[in-house]
């Protein structure tokens, strides 16, 4: 680009410093806070106080931390689902649909199988059924990608809508197995029996202290599953031959062919695992939070937010955990702010705006991490 007698251009950095992997995300968050601060200021709210309150309500007490970790659980799993596949240049953006399919599978198992088995087995069955639901929802895109080279971006995206409408049909449109027959006027999902509910972390009352009177947290079994999934995907990627094959296929398909790595099998396996992770998120939402298949009770957009989580964490499983908790805290804090009084009363949309601003700042930051901005003075040739 030429501005007057100066030339402005991006020059690729030959030495991308390791430390910039941390600096860029932090700078992105600060940049996003500034951008959102401008909006807050324009609407007549004290930005710094709003942020202080946001942090306090998101991370400032045991109660809010518990809420934040509960909200983070599905985000960790959908974030891992996206990151695991994206790493291999397979863009599964169907986490949303696979989460719904997982929720349908988990609630079916909770209603049909759980009543007939004992507690721990019931919970495991619900988890597995959720995972299976997510896996099944990506089977067709995975096979189409491996054998027909169909863009998984398009197929997984379209399957999201199918899943959403299927779920709505099961509750609103039919007298299906999932629908609560007692909810004649306002259709709802059939409640899961207690045996299928995920165990929840309880604080002893005396330790919980002043700000946490009930001792009951929102941290359920799904959070433990999410932590295991972080470790599991990291281990799979870094320490196993399968992870090595993934890396080769993802970075250079010709090298994979040359080395005799089964490309189709690897592509399918990665997509199925990705779908299974998103399905687990659905199981967690049904078994740990909503206790029924309920389109109104399910938080929409968890799958899509997982993509944001994956992008911000640069596909590193541990970073996925951190970013998910960070974004969940924003949401918890924003939920609380909505109920505040006075000038601190801020619509919950502020959290979504911050998420968007962070993502944009991070993507922009990535450009500057890899390139440096050069401003050069140019002189016109004397003819």
């Amino acid at each position: 680009m030429i501005l007057g007698s100066y030339e402005v251009l991006l020059e690729q950095r030959t030495d991308v410093r390791r430390s910039s992997a941390f600096i860029v995300p932090i700078a992105s968050i600060l940049g996003a806070l500034v951008i959102a601060g401008v909006f807050l200021w324009l609407t007549g709210r004290p930005a710094l106080s709003v942020y202080a309150r946001l942090v306090r309500d998101g991370y400032g007490s045991w109660y809010s931390i518990s809420d934040t970790l509960g909200q983070a659980t599905p985000l960790i799993l959908t974030g891992l689902a996206a990151a695991f596949a994206f790493r291999m240049n397979l863009y599964n953006i169907g986490g949303e649909g696979q989460l719904y399919a997982g929720a349908i599978g988990a609630s079916w198992a909770g209603l049909a199988i759980a009543p007939h088995v004992s507690g721990p087995i019931a919970v495991v069955v619900v988890l597995l059924a959720g995972m299976l639901g997510g896996v099944l929802w990506i089977v067709i895109p995975a096979i189409a990608r491996a054998f027909l080279n169909t863009s998984e971006i398009v197929t997984t995206l379209l399957f999201n809508y199918v899943a959403l409408f299927l779920m709505q049909y099961l509750i609103f449109g039919s007298s299906s197995f999932w629908r609560d027959p007692d909810s004649k006027n306002f259709p709802q999902g059939k409640p899961l029996p207690d045996v299928a509910h995920f165990p929840t972390l309880h604080f002893p009352r005396d330790i919980a202290g002043l700000d946490f009177p009930s001792g009951v947290t929102s941290i359920h079994l799904g959070f433990g599953v999410a932590i295991l999934a972080i470790i599991g995907t990291w281990f799979l990627q870094q320490r196993t031959s399968f992870g090595f094959d993934m890396k080769v296929v993802g970075s250079s398909e010709r090298a994979a062919r040359y080395a005799g790595i089964p490309i189709r099998r690897t592509v399918i396996a990665v997509l199925l695992i990705s779908g299974g992770l998103a399905g687990l998120a659905g199981a967690g939402e049904v078994g740990g939070r909503a206790y029924a298949l309920d389109p109104n009770g399910l938080v929409l957009g968890l799958g899509y937010t997982g993509i944001v989580v994956a992008a911000l964490s640069r596909y590193n499983p541990f970073a996925v955990g951190l970013v998910a908790v960070l974004l969940a805290g924003l949401r918890t804090g924003a939920d609380a702010l909505q109920g505040a009084t006075g000038p601190l009363r801020v619509p919950v949309a502020i959290a979504f705006m911050l998420e968007g601003a962070i993502l944009l700042a991070a993507l922009g930051g990535e450009v500057f991490r890899r390139n440096r901005l050069v401003v050069r003075r140019i002189r016109e040739a004397p003819a």
């Binding site: 031959s241 080395a259 003819a383």
Partner: protein
């Protein structure tokens, strides 16, 4: 300018006249490296002046200084004897110096003529399509550069695109053309056509600066040769008064042994046997009933012009492709159609033509690339691979920041050393490979690296490995193979011992003329 600038207007140097361009004591530094260290060069009218040097010797930097892309920190440029400072390539063009870059700067969706007049500030606002097309056609015809001015650049072959770049530079009025590694993207036939164009341009009094690291082509095309090493000029000679060996010594800084090497011990039992090997796909037969046998302790060279089935033949033997018909045995084990892993298990190693991208995964570290063709258990063990990577880096003097550096950051020569060493599995006396298929193993490499690669292949032969060398470089096949066969349109057509082989007979066979 441009179209009206008839080539006959430029006169060759009169005795005593100043050179067209003279660079004096040029210094250009980059962080950590002096790319040009007090470089002198004189370019005369009507000559082909080669800038010869290994990758990183500073020849491209010098060319960038000559065309105005870089302003040198010290030194001066004299154009027709007048001291001049060039601030930009546009400045350089205004003085008649133009560069044809290795990577073309063309717009696919524009026609040839549109690309040529792009950036011409003398054009009126309204494009006169017929006039520009006529101008382009005229230049193209004058210099033997067949081009359709109305064709879209996106539809052209690489060789044709290069012609567009040359026509563009001529249109812009260049009397001195800098060609940066112009043959690296061309087939041999396209390269011959380019050489003819270069001669037409110099006959018309223009100067061509030919930047290259290939000794053979420099000797073929250049009148004068300026050799560079580590940013300095190490030689300035008449092409007619020098030899390959002298140029190689000036490039590398020591004697380079590119003399021919043959097996010193007679070849033993056959290790690789191929019978009736055929590959037909989409109605095209690229490999046609090939029979061959490679014995332990010999190099069988397969000569041929690129595109006659070389890559397919190598891929078939290595198990990457499944043959339509035929048998392949590696030390007695049938491997045809069983995949690369089966071939490797039988003792086959494969150095593919595309070393960075196929043989090595560029984004992966050198350590991980060691693992690429090794049998792996479920849990990955990087310790042995790391030790092997460190060993190879040390023994072959691989220039890299370490075993964890991405393979793609290595130069071609260093990447090839790593690849061949991995394939021969030469860790301290432990040899698993018994048959090596090497496809164009020295293409694009520096002279020093070629010497190393030939040395590695010769050493493997001496240890009793059977080597199938598939190369489009006839010199290479003649230099290190023991027997030579020619591949033409997928068939083996001519077999001869390498010692005393007739270059003419092989050349005819390569062209499809039965001897």
């Amino acid at each position: 300018m441009g179209a009206t600038d008839a080539p006959v207007g430029v006169r060759p140097d009169l005795p005593g006249a100043p050179p067209a361009v003279s660079a004096r004591r040029i210094v250009k530094r980059f962080p950590g490296v002096v790319a040009n260290d007090h470089v002198d060069v004189d370019l005369r009218r009507g000559e082909v002046h080669a800038l010869l040097g290994e990758n990183g010797a500073g020849k491209s930097t010098l060319a960038a200084v000559l065309c105005g892309l870089y302003v040198p920190e010290e030194g001066e440029l004299l154009i027709d004897g007048v001291r001049t400072v060039l601030h930009s390539p546009r400045d350089g063009l205004a003085r008649g110096i133009g560069m044809v870059h290795q990577h073309f700067r063309l717009i696919d969706r524009f026609t040839v003529a549109e690309n040529v007049v792009l950036g011409d500030r003398t054009q009126s606002l309204r494009l006169r399509r017929d006039r520009t097309e006529d101008a382009v056609a005229e230049i193209a015809e004058t210099y033997g550069l067949p081009l359709d001015p109305g064709a879209y650049v996106g539809d052209l072959s690489v060789g044709q695109r290069q012609r567009v770049e040359i026509v563009k530079t001529l249109y812009q009025g260049a009397r001195i053309l800098l060609l940066d590694e112009p043959t690296s993207v061309l087939t041999p036939q396209e390269a011959d056509a380019l050489f003819a164009t270069v001669r037409t341009m110099t006959a018309a009094g223009r100067t061509v600066v030919f930047i290259s690291h290939k000794l053979g082509e420099v000797l073929e095309i250049a009148d004068r040769v300026t050799v560079m090493r580590d940013g300095r000029v190490t030689g300035d000679v008449d092409a007619g008064a020098t030899t390959r060996e002298e140029l190689a010594r000036m490039m590398v800084g020591r004697d380079v042994d590119l003399s021919s090497r043959r097996a010193v011990v007679p070849a033993r039992e056959p290790m690789l046997r191929v019978e009736g090997l055929t590959l037909t796909r989409g109605g095209v037969t690229s490999v046609d009933r090939v029979d061959l046998e490679v014995r332990a302790g010999e190099i069988l060279g397969i000569a041929g012009v690129s595109g006659n089935g070389q890559r397919e033949l190598a891929d078939l033997i290595a198990g990457v492709e499944t043959p339509t018909a035929g048998r392949i045995t590696v030390s007695g084990t049938e491997v045809a159609g069983k995949g690369p892993r089966a071939a490797r298990a039988a003792g086959l190693a494969y150095v593919p033509e595309d070393r960075l991208g196929t043989g090595l995964a560029p984004a992966l570290s050198i350590v991980d690339n060691m693992l690429l063709t090794r049998p792996r258990s479920f849990l990955l063990d990087r310790r042995a691979a790391r030790a092997e990577a460190e060993d190879i880096i040390e023994r072959f003097e691989v220039k890299t920041t370490g075993p964890d550096a991405a393979a793609g950051l290595m130069s071609g020569g260093n990447a090839q050393k790593v690849l061949i060493a991995r394939e021969l599995d030469s860790t301290d006396g432990e040899h698993t490979a018994r048959v090596l298929v090497a496809a164009s193993p020295t293409r694009g490499l520096d002279v020093g690296a070629i010497e190393t690669v030939w040395g590695i292949l010769d050493g493997a032969r001496a240890r009793g490995e059977a080597i199938l060398l598939i190369s489009e470089d006839l010199e290479e096949v003649l230099a290190i193979a023991d027997r030579i066969v020619v591949l033409y349109e997928g068939r083996l057509v001519h077999e001869t011992p390498a010692a005393g082989a007739s270059r003419e007979a092989i050349g005819l066979a390569m062209a499809g003329v039965a001897p």
